[in-house]
């Protein structure tokens, strides 16, 4: 019992590291777990979606409060944008984030950036499952 506890305690920092890396670098957790081709597919999918979103001048959400729908859309959108990790940080840092502009291309761009973050959340969960041996 005590050896199981100490093993899981020892694995905890590694698990945290994998999830953190998965968040910061899309596909990074999979690379760390030696799942290279899956990591490459995730990295390519997330980054291409994110870059297309930026090139279409998609809006990057800022958290806003107000009625429930506003909170869901703006806070949810912000969390999803943030989930892209380093691409999000770099975009904000270098001032490439775009104000909310009307138009279907901008709108698609916004959705692409959000989708990239949501894909990365799926990748983080998958990396966690692999690290905890729930799947191969």
């Amino acid at each position: 019992m005590s050896s199981t506890t100490s093993t899981s305690e020892a694995a905890a920092p590694r698990l945290s590291m994998i999830v953190l890396l998965s968040w910061l670098v899309p596909g990074g957790g999979h690379f760390m777990l030696k799942k290279h081709y899956r990591g490459a597919l995730i990295a390519a999918s997330v980054l291409i979606m994110f870059v297309f979103g930026l090139l279409m001048r998609g809006y990057m959400f800022e958290p806003q409060t107000g009625d429930v729908l506003t909170i869901i859309i703006y806070v949810g959108g912000f969390v999803a944008d943030l989930a892209s990790g380093i691409p999000y940080v770099l975009t904000k840092l270098f001032g490439y984030s775009q104000a909310d502009v009307a138009g279907h291309v901008h709108d698609y761009g916004t959705k692409f950036i959000v989708a990239a973050g949501l894909f990365n959340i799926l990748a983080m969960v998958d990396a966690w499952d692999i690290a905890t041996k729930k799947k191969d």
């Binding site: 597919l41 997330v46 001048r57 279907h104 901008h106 692409f112 989708a115 990748a123």
Partner: protein
Amino acid sequence: MEPIVKLSHFEATFLFALFSSVILGVVSKKTDKERLRYGLTAFGWYAVTVFGLGWLMYFAHR
């Protein structure tokens, strides 16, 4: 600012379907064969839905 890339509705939907199918395939199954099959199935369903809804809207607006 003007968008640098201007995708049509179809192109944007195609790209979204492609990349989300890849991600769903990668994260949801246990073997490579199952992943490939699931990814292709997801993409197929996206395509069927897009064409179906497209034609539905076309006839609804005639």
